[in-house]
Symmetry: C2
Subunit: 248 residues, 2 copies
């Protein structure tokens, strides 16, 4: 049912809304995206380096995760990118890549040469502003996640992750009420929440047992008690929405 929206097509909320409202700006941005658009199946992985970093990525559809890993094999997913997300994976020295990128689903994205990207921005101040807002939202949700990664129980970080992904998906029109398919394994959710896969499993089952969630068939989630979920996650729903949802 809703897989379609996740993996294919441009969600209604994506290009039309939010990014450039004037007809000219809209055309420009969209043309640029279309010109450099690629489709890739779920399997591929990118370790960005060298000239690959001279590129700005704009996700049109599908889910990506950005992660870092340590020498001893641990991995932390630092952000989940949903359609409309921007990926500018270049560190301070403008040539070392910061993160590894992994698609969770089939993805469609635009790989725009940095030069073209910046030209487009300089010609379209309104888009610059929109993108600024998108970036702010990304930082805001990272802050929230750090809060729960550092302090906070397994329950609270998992509850937060699920609530965050549900909220963001809903804004993109990818949910069916309180139902949400998260295209991650428990291992990946663990890498996102700083937990072992085993503990993710136990925690999800506890949430299920307490009637907060329903989890079926590989992360097909239904939120049964949203108040309990936000309570466990330590979320003020209105404040969170204002912080992490790009609103112009």
């Amino acid at each position: 049912m809703m897989q379609g929206a996740v993996c294919h097509g441009v969600p209604a909320a994506l290009l039309p809304t939010g990014v450039g409202r004037g007809p000219y700006a809209y055309q420009t941005f969209r043309d640029l995206i279309d010109a450099y658009r690629f489709d890739r199946p779920a399997g591929f992985t990118v370790k960005l380096e060298g000239e690959a970093t001279a590129t700005v990525y704009y996700l049109v559809s599908g889910w990506l995760v950005l992660s870092k890993s340590t020498a001893n094999g641990h991995r932390q997913i630092v952000d989940v990118v949903l359609p409309g997300g921007i990926l500018d994976p270049v560190s301070a020295d403008a040539c070392t890549s910061i993160v590894e990128i992994e698609p969770l689903t089939d993805v469609s994205f635009a790989a725009v040469p940095r030069e073209d990207w910046h030209r487009m921005l300089s010609e379209n101040p309104s888009i610059t502003r929109e993108i600024d807002i998108i970036n702010r939202a990304a930082i805001a949700r990272m802050f929230e996640r750090m809060l729960r990664l550092g302090k906070g129980s397994a329950e609270s970080i998992i509850a937060f992750a699920i609530y965050e992904l549900h909220l963001r998906s809903t804004v993109l029109g990818m949910t069916d009420g309180y139902r949400l398919r998260i295209p991650m394994t428990q291992q990946q959710l663990g890498d996102f929440c700083g937990l072992s896969a085993v503990h993710v499993c136990r925690t999800l089952r506890r949430l299920k047992r307490h009637g907060v969630l329903e989890v079926t068939d590989h992360m097909d989630i239904r939120i049964r008690d949203i108040d309990a979920l936000t309570e466990i996650a330590g979320i003020d729903p209105d404040a969170l929405r204002q912080e992490i949802i790009p609103a112009a």
Copy 2:
């Protein structure tokens, strides 16, 4: 000795380097900063909200931390801001503040109205680029910290924090070789590393016992075995420097 550099005056590396190299750009930026500059003692706190968020802060000297806290009293420091750092504490909706701000020392900063800030940027593309780089560096170091916050032992996150702060301070000319004064209590370091103050204490003592650090008198730190420190933190020193140090 080096406290002077931490708390007062403009570190050599700050305004002159990095931010705007042409005489015109340099003048403009510096004038703006000077026009809106404030000094504040260590004690004050800001909870930014309302029109306060229509302001961009540029830290001239001193240390600040940005933190978030939960309803149940836990706090996570999401970043430490050193001289030259920019603080644009506005979330996606452009009016809710994301973070609380706390100075660790006496600070001198410029509180620039957003409008003026953006005008300055639009008139000085080179400064825009510099600031972009500063922001990237901030994100890169947050990614690194998230990796250790999620996975990683108390030793590794503390070792990382100390190494990071030493590296950044060194670039700003605020260290004396391997000596560094971190103006944080163990409680604050714990809030930064996602640990209790008690465990910070134990961990520091262990590092001391193993000859990695020397800790005297309220976080006056000397790194005795930098290789051991990077090993424990899981750091590749060259790569880290490239990622988190703004280099133009």
